[in-house]
């Protein structure tokens, strides 16, 4: 009998991790890792941070060197998108015409930037930031840019804005909601970062969208906002979130609903197919319903979870989510999922640029957002690994020893 084959579609952080962890667990079958980008698997977070700012080079991005894949007997195929999944024959078809058979398939297809459907979106100088190629293009353009409009004030938009501001560009941030990063952070942290960007020199327009992108001779010259303003720009970054890459899954008849639907073991509606990372929509004890998370932590821990299951050690996926964002001299660290909190308390003072927001729902701690305050973040991850048993009063009291509190909890 031929060796069993695990094929992994997507060679980003999650796909890479699944492949590497399969070998770590001693999995003896064949592992095929297929990426659509024409480069080795790499880290995405620096693309909007140190790499964009020119503080790190491309060699700092590779998750592992070329030799790693041969040494680990991981068949890495890159620059060759999968075009179809044949579930009946258990085969994959790639754009180049290559086919692979599989016994278990892992979807780690990631997500793509959500397009802004307005006139002018096709103009030269209207860009997105997701891939290494995107970041290289932006790095080049930033040298020739004096006026930047950032459409969408999420992590990527604000990280990009911070880099552009530090390079001396004029930056205008346009956000359709009233709350920058509102999908992921509390009002206090949102307000703090908005004010920080204004302090660094950004113009921030909230509660208004971009209705048209203006151009001349095929090049972008500015944007028009819903409230009638014209903002000049020679570079417009569209960063209004992502759409999970679930087309292959839906074409193959798998359940899809804001991503590929999986159970607590990260198995899709076909037991021979798993989904992990940005494309996976999964149930979690850290939120009332299902979630889809776009983070390094989630990609790594889900890659590992699937590898453990395929190696015969199934464990439900219940890792504490964590995230980070670097903007200027501010490091934001989030543990847990804070959206949907009904109470929040401050620990520390935002005026000191060193504080945390502890978020509660129904009296229970559900997440902590820390700014330049790693010690709180570390404790929060530990607290959230079980019942935190922490009251808002304790969280807000800086003389209350959180570390000692965490130590008293079972298993932490």
């Amino acid at each position: 009998m031929p060796d069993p084959v695990v094929a992994i579609i997507g060679a980003g952080q999650a796909g890479f991790q699944a492949a590497a962890s399969l070998r770590d667990t001693g999995y003896a079958g064949r592992v095929v890792l297929i990426g659509d980008e024409p480069v080795l698997p790499y880290q995405r977070p620096p693309l909007s941070k140190s790499y964009l700012a020119g503080r790190s080079g491309v060699d700092d991005l590779w998750l592992r060197p070329t030799e790693f894949y041969a040494k680990q007997q991981i068949d890495l195929v890159y620059g060759d998108p999968v075009t179809a999944i044949d579930r009946r024959q258990r085969r994959l078809h790639l754009a180049s015409g290559i086919e692979f058979s599989w016994d278990h398939l892992v979807l780690a297809t990631g997500a793509a930037c959500r397009p802004l459907a307005v006139p002018g979106a096709e103009l030269d100088g209207v860009l997105t930031l997701r891939t290494l190629a995107d970041a290289d293009g932006l790095r080049q353009r930033l040298n020739e840019t004096s006026e930047v409009v950032v459409v969408g004030a999420g992590f990527i938009g604000l990280e990009f804005a911070a880099v552009a501001l530090a390079r001396g560009s004029a930056v205008h941030i346009v956000e359709v909601t009233r709350r920058p990063m509102g999908r992921v952070v509390s009002e206090a942290v949102s307000r703090f970062f908005t004010e920080a960007h204004i302090g660094w020199g950004a113009e921030v327009a909230l509660g208004t969208g971009v209705t048209r992108i203006l151009g001349a001779g095929g090049r972008v010259t500015g944007v028009e906002t819903a409230d009638g303003r014209h903002i000049p720009a020679d570079l417009v970054l569209i960063c209004i979130g992502v759409i999970p890459n679930a087309r292959l899954a839906s074409d193959a008849g798998l359940a899809v609903d804001d991503g590929v639907v999986v159970d607590e073991y990260l198995v899709t509606s076909d037991p021979a197919i798993s989904a992990i990372g940005d494309c996976a929509n999964f149930p979690t004890p850290f939120a009332p319903g299902r979630v889809r998370l776009e983070s390094v932590q989630n990609a790594i821990d889900q890659g590992r979870c699937v590898a453990d299951r395929l190696a015969g050690r199934p464990v439900p996926y219940q890792k504490v989510p964590w995230f980070w964002s670097d903007q200027g001299d501010l490091k934001l660290q989030i543990a847990g999922i804070t959206i949907g909190h009904d109470t929040s308390v401050l620990r520390g003072d935002p005026a000191d640029r060193n504080f945390s927001v502890f978020c509660f729902r129904g009296g229970r701690l559900i997440g902590v957002e820390s700014v330049n305050r790693t010690a709180d973040h570390v404790i929060a991850r530990r607290l959230l690994a079980g019942d935190p048993a922490l009251s808002p009063e304790q969280a807000a009291d800086e003389s209350y020893d959180l570390r000692a509190h965490a130590r008293r909890l079972p298993g932490r």
Binding site: P45, P46, P65, V296, W324, Q333, V378, R382
Partner: protein
């Protein structure tokens, strides 16, 4: 170029030339030294590039930031007085000859 010796838990040693400005973590990743995982890529969000520095060389290493001290609470192997995150050990001439011991596990 500073030489750094990585000692595996079984005693096996690997010696790398680490370019100035490159971290002990990154050099291990680039050269395929097993035992350094570096999940977060050097952002000090994890503790999976944990090493033990040869105790009598500790005074040659750069001081620990508060962030590093905090993150060292997450090491999978025991934290000791000579525990460091290797992403924070950036090669300088003073680090030539550094010896770091890899822990049993990083995750």
């Amino acid at each position: 170029m500073p030489k750094v010796t990585y000692v595996h838990p079984n005693g096996a040693r690997e010696v790398l030339d680490v370019p100035l400005g490159t971290s002990v973590m990154r050099a291990a990743i680039v050269n395929g030294v097993d035992g350094i995982v570096a999940e977060c890529g050097g952002e000090m969000m994890c503790a999976t590039c944990h090493v033990y520095v040869e105790p009598d060389q500790l005074d040659r290493t750069p001081p620990q930031s508060d962030d590093e001290k905090a993150m060292l609470e997450f090491t999978a192997s025991e934290r000791k007085p000579n525990s460091r995150l290797s992403c924070q050990l950036v090669a300088t001439p003073e680090l030539d000859g550094l010896v770091v011991y890899l822990p049993e596990t990083q995750v």
